[in-house]
Symmetry: C2
Subunit: 376 residues, 2 copies
């Protein structure tokens, strides 16, 4: 059996209510194991932006994410398939998860028309039409050869009308069923995605419908699209216990370090987000004592590293040097800060896993939050 | 003694005339040896563009170059000095050579006024005035703490009037003398720069004047500024034998792989150029079979690497993947091609050194030129 999810330990008691507890597990895929809770860096177009394979491996990343919509447009899934799938094409030998393009129904809404049959995009590259049906989303992901495929879901903006959210949620369930039927590959796991906006009841209902279809993993989608963090946490808390205990739970597109810990506290196993790299490119570094805005004048002659014990290439240099790189528009600035943030996220997850295994996650959580201070 | 130049072997016979022969040597500096002929990657603003220290070391680079004009403007030589000099600031532990800013008298000519006393620049950053006299050029380089400093020279565009070239050449000699007088540091070598445009006689005269001042090394400057390669080779051939045999000879700002071999044939020991990184950023790769224009449609599904035996991170992937990165505007494209080109240049110099040591440089030269074909 190629896929397997084992929960190794679960926090013994929880402050948040029944069914809400951090858990430590291992998700086995055809390309190796993923320790959970785990964070997946995002390689939208077949590369984590600005980071070589060697550097990415060194951050400790185990599973990375590729984007169905972008890769299907360029270079095209057939090209990637001929070049050995996403693994052969990119050279990443570990597990890969591909999203379904569902997020682009939201992020590229003005270029996208959704019907019951499918979504039709006007390509952001050349204006040509691209059709994305549940069947096509699966076909693309099968050609890409990812370890984990995601069902096509209908993501809508929040806040939105009750009707629009119910409609999209019900469609996401029908589309999940069509995706499941469309899958022909044996060595890929297809994960369901729970929708339902900020309506806890709708989320629980959707989770139940999805659970009844027996997917090998379940994601919570449609969050981190503009709502308050407290609203997001409320929805995670409502949805997570409604998902099968023995399957991995994946919170899509989230988030800040605090969001990761809040997710873990509520039983989430997997995360992905562009934050470490996007913020790194924009001169923002994550540290255990909060955010560092690298362009800030206060660092102009600061001889200390971002974090003294961080083994990343950025922390081998001074804050003054890193600031200089951004001031001088040198691409090494974005590269080094992206690397630092990727190391930071992986270290945070590594520490979280150790804390859960040692039954001290609540304490670990409080210490991290205290260190971050206002940046929570 | 911190500095020492030893010629280990010289080509026994030469096709080009007396005094023109490839030579293999070692230039010892306070931060370690430089095998010659050697190529120095350019780190204008304290970083080779897009390349981390770890990656730069792995290319085999021994000595790198920093830019006095740019670093004095930003972050300022005082800041760098307080942060441990250019070595401490950048983290590069090997030898560093700094240019003098003389090249900017040419490249930023429209923002620069030259008098006998000094050059005055209107900063390209904020329009403020920056004065660069021979004394200031040395003071900046002493603050930067490079291993090799360059005298301030007066570089002019070619072609130019005989009068302008004679004037600039004579000024370069007077400025070299002022630089020599201004030096107070004991652990830095100050190299002279021979000017003289495309006038072989003037070059030889200038070389003689400089040689009489007994510098620890000599550069040929003011070339690769728009003249034909054959003209450049003619001037190198005239100038090189006029320089002291027992001192390193450095051809500034040159050039393409063929230019490096043509320089080596004429007795040049050191080179620097932005070509490997600038061309890499612009999707042009150097290989033993000529240039590869990475965006070319013919590579869209090419599963082969740029060079099968190259150990660089780019050659771990297919040409199709590299092309995709450029098509998708991913910064990893420029990074990987810059890396490949840096590896290529270092390998070329490594091979040239081995060929000289084994007395087969002429044969090596012919084989390389044949391989490059039209890209010579």
């Amino acid at each position: 059996m190629s896929f397997r999810f084992d929960t190794l330990s679960t926090e013994p008691q929880t402050e948040l209510g029944p069914g809400l507890a951090a858990r430590r597990g291992t998700f086995l895929t055809p390309h190796g194991p993923v320790e959970t809770p785990g964070f997946m860096p995002v390689g939208t177009q077949g590369t984590v932006k600005g980071i070589t394979l060697e550097q990415l491996r060194a951050t400790g990343a185990q599973m990375i994410l590729g984007n169905t919509y972008h890769l299907a447009l360029r270079p095209g899934e057939q090209t990637i398939q001929r070049l050995g799938g996403l693994h052969g094409f990119t050279g990443w030998e570990g597990p890969i998860l591909t999203d379904s393009g569902g997020f682009q129904l939201f992020s590229l809404a003005e270029m996208c028309k959704v019907t019951e049959e499918k979504a039709v995009f006007k390509s952001h590259l050349d204006g040509s039409l691209m059709e994305l049906s549940p069947e096509r989303a699966v076909a693309i992901q099968q050609a890409l050869g990812s370890d984990v495929m995601m069902v096509l879901d209908h993501v809508v903006a929040l806040p939105n009308s009750t009707e629009a959210i119910h409609d999209a949620t019900q469609r996401s369930i029908r589309w999940a069923r069509r995706c499941q039927k469309a899958q022909t590959s044996a060595n890929q796991a297809l994960f369901a995605i729970v929708q339902g906006g900020l309506d806890a009841e709708l989320r629980v209902w959707c989770a139940g419908e999805m659970a009844a279809m027996d997917f090998p993993g379940y994601a919570i989608g449609g969050l981190s699209v503009g709502e308050e963090p407290s609203e997001m946490y409320r929805i995670i808390a409502a949805t997570s216990p409604a998902l099968p205990t023995h399957k991995p739970r994946y919170l899509m597109g989230v988030g800040r370090p605090i969001d990761l810990l809040e997710g873990i506290r509520r039983g989430i196993d997997l995360f992905d987000c562009v934050m470490p790299t996007r913020n790194g490119r924009n001169a923002l570094a994550f540290t255990d004592t909060g955010y560092v805005r690298m362009k800030n004048r206060q660092y102009a002659e600061d001889p200390t590293p971002l974090e003294p014990h961080c083994p990343c290439p950025a922390c081998g240099r001074s804050k003054a040097y890193l600031r200089h790189l951004f001031q001088a528009n040198e691409m090494l600035g974005p590269i080094l800060l992206s690397l630092h943030n990727l190391y930071y996220y992986q270290r945070l997850m590594h520490e979280a896993r150790a804390a859960i295994a040692e039954r001290r996650f609540a304490e670990f959580y409080r210490a991290k939050v205290a260190g971050w201070g206002k940046d929570c």
